[in-house]
Structures are given as structure tokens and as C-alpha cells.
């Protein structure tokens, strides 16, 4: 009898499957998804690279470039947790599907940094570089 009720309910209810990514996905509020670096805030300390469990983050401190290998990222949010400047924003959306191994590159405007700090990266940044 309970099975009959289910059958009738299924007859009138629509499909549950969403046509994601063509239609918006129904993502839960607390979902950890896409990562984004705010390069204005970033001080290139390298902690996100050092603590990333899947080695998805690579940082070139001299050029001021952070590269995220999108398919290696497991959305654990450790980078955002350890970031001393809260420069990493964890969004809700899933990473978009792609045919290639996608890379996402964030670039810091290094000309401003050089004007501010004389030539090259500061001593503190050099110290953390040797650790990683």
C-alpha cells in the first residue's frame, strides 16, 4: 500500500534532476566551493601554498603570481583558514566543468610593491620562501 502511494506521488511530481550547468544548481548555504584570491590584500607569505593538502596552490613570489590548479583543489578551505590577511574568499559555487586541466592565475601588481618597499621582496618574505 505504501508503495502504491509512492507510485502515485511519482506520477504527479516532476523530475528531481537539475540541468546543471545550464540551469542554476541548488547549492546548500554552507557549501565550500570556488576559491578566489584578493591580490590587493595578499602579502605573498606562501602559507596557502605550504598548507594546501593537495599541492594545488603554487606561488611565484618574485613575479607575484598565484596559480591554482582547479581540478586538484578539494575545497577544504585550509588556505582561507591559515591566510593571515583573510585574502582568500571561499565561495559557494562549484568549480565549472571543463575539458582541460584548468588553471586559475592571480597576479599581484608588483610595480606598486617595489615603489613601497624599495627593491625586491622584503626580508620577511625571503624568510618564508626558504621554509617552503
Amino acid at each position: 500500500m505504501s508503495m502504491l502511494r509512492t507510485v502515485l506521488r511519482n506520477l504527479v511530481s516532476g523530475p528531481v534532476t537539475l540541468k546543471y550547468p545550464n540551469a542554476p544548481a541548488n547549492i546548500p548555504e554552507g557549501n565550500r566551493g570556488r576559491l578566489d584570491w584578493d591580490m590587493e590584500k595578499c602579502i605573498l607569505c606562501g602559507l596557502c601554498q605550504k598548507r594546501c593538502p593537495t599541492l594545488a596552490v603554487t606561488m611565484d613570489k618574485n613575479m607575484g603570481i598565484i596559480t591554482l590548479q582547479v581540478h586538484r583543489c578539494i575545497s577544504c578551505g585550509v588556505c582561507a583558514e591559515v591566510c593571515p590577511k583573510s585574502a582568500i574568499n571561499v565561495g559557494r559555487e562549484y568549480s565549472a566543468p571543463s575539458y582541460t586541466k584548468a588553471l586559475r592565475v592571480y597576479e599581484k601588481d608588483m610595480s606598486k610593491e617595489k615603489e613601497k618597499e624599495g627593491t625586491g621582496p622584503s626580508d620577511a618574505e625571503k624568510g618564508s620562501e626558504t621554509q617552503t
Binding site: S2, P28, G30, P53, T54, S75, C76, G77
Partner: protein
Amino acid sequence: MSRSTLIPFGPQHPSFLEPLNINLRLDEERVVGAEINYGYNHRGMEKALAADFRRSIYLCERVCGICSFFHSTVYCESMESMFDVRVPDHARYIRAILMECQRITSHSLALAHTAEAMGYESLFMQLFREREPVMRLLNDITGNRVHFSMNTIGGVRRDISPEQRKELLSTMDGLEQRFSVLAGVFRKDATVKRRMVGKGVLTKDNARTYAVVGPVGRASGIAQDMRQNNYQDLDFRPIVRDEGDSYARSMVRVDEIFQSIGLIRTAIGLLKEGPLNVPAKGNPTGETFARVEAPRGELFYYIKAMGKVELDRVKIKTPTIVNVAALTAMVPGCEMPDVPVITVSVDPCICCTER
């Protein structure tokens, strides 16, 4: 004089989700012997886990997709005993709530899979439908749907907000009501009983010989559950049955889902505001082990560290390695078409076992 036939069952078989090979020896349709072969899914994860003790918290979840939180909890518990830190009570209860939620999803998957092995497709789909709200809620609470990344050495990383606690309670109320209808199918349905009652019996003596754990052991009358030690303040008593057949194993799981719902309610009542984790500084030294009750039985981690970021040894003992071995005592005497149902009623998890 009868001749026996050797039938290889698996590693690729429609009723198995994962590769497992059972070589059955048949006398006509009756099974007279079975030999079990593992090793189709080895990934070398124990070695990979030893690379970096902090990164391993997230890697050890990937050992298994159904009991991921249990793996990270037992790993963190063993590291906590090595660092000699005490997890705050608040974090302990959050861990208990999430473990019981994942036990509900795991047991409903096991029951659904048993229904599918019997050919009862509609029951399979309905159990998966009931599983979905819990999965979605876990995604909301922890941030990820399967691999939660919720644990850290010394506690948990996220709190359960008051709104989420309310939602958790209302989801549990709805689940209990709807699941009792589906449990009624397992309790009363003649087809289910005909396929499972008296099939694949594991006697108490055999259960002791094969040292089975979890629902398989409890269905054979062995009242052993790691939660007796871990949940001392939640008033926990293991569910035990004496029959030892496929039906008893499934019914232990059905009853444990309701028990888990009760435990979640108690644990939410005990949640008090407090710190989520305590920091563990430095590198680990020494050797330690921890045990928790995963959905399939006792899960055991042994870790040896030498004061470096790299660990010396991580050894995992999963429940399936003993439970599947007991199949050699369960299947003789039954008929060939019963073997898938008996195997699935043990709920083997090969990716845990071969990691």
C-alpha cells in the same frame, strides 16, 4: 557420485559495487566451498598517508567515500593522543553527531544495496531518496557532501549553528517517520524474508573464530561495539540479534538507523558553546592507536612518528577484511542465486580494505 564445479564470482559482477572475487565450488546448485581473493583496488594509500601528518587529515578521508568522516576522526584521535591534547566536549559531540549522520547514510546505502541485490529496485530507490536530505544537510553543515574536511587535530573546524541544529532535528523527525514505513517493508515483506531468513548463517562460534566486527558480529550474538567506550555520556547500548543470517544483519542495520537518530537528538541536547579545537603544535613523536565504530565495524589506525613532518608508519585495519573472510563460513550450504544477497548483507567495502 557428484562432480563439483568451480564458478568465479566477480571481480566484475552486476551486484558488486567494487571488485571482489569469490571462487565458488558448486555441487549442482549448492555451494560447497568458497575462496576469496582481494587485491584489485590497491592504491598504496598507507604509504601516501605517511608523507605529511597535516595533509594526511584530508587524504585519509579519501580512503573511503561512505565512511570518510570515521577515517578522519580515528586518524585525528590517534594524533591527539600522540600530541596529548584533550578535545573540547563541544567538538566531541559535533564529531558524534556527524558520525551518526554518516552512519545513517551508510546503513541506508547498505540496505538499499541489499534490496537491489534481491531485485527490489523500488525499495532501493526509495531508500536513496530518504538518504538524500541527510546528505544535503551534511553538505550544509560541513561544507562538502562526501569528504567533509571537518576534522582537524585537536577538534573540528566548523560549528553547527543554532539554525542548523533546528534543521537537523526536523530532518531527523521527518526521516524517522518516513523510514519507519520502509523499515516496515523489511519487517513484513514476504519476498524480503524468503530471500534472507535462514540464508548465509554465521553461528556465534564461527563469528568468534573469524573475529567478525560490526553489524555482522552483532547479528551473530556478539555484543561488541566501540561506541560503548566512546559514547559513555550518550546512554548507548548495542543492538544484538542471535540468528546470524542475512536477515538479522539487515535488521541490525535497520534498528541502528533509529538508534542513530536517537543518539543525534541526545547529542544536540548536550551541545554547549565552547571552543571548537585546541591547537596541537610541533611534530608528533611516538606510537599510538585509536579505534572507532565505523558503520561496518571497528576501524583501527596505528601511527608511528619520529618527530618529523613525515610519519614513520600508518597502519589501517578496516572492518571488511575480517567480515568478508567470514563469507567462507556463510555461503556453504546455500544456493548459487543467494550468494549476491549474502555477500551484500555483509556490506563489504573493498576500497577501505585495499586502500
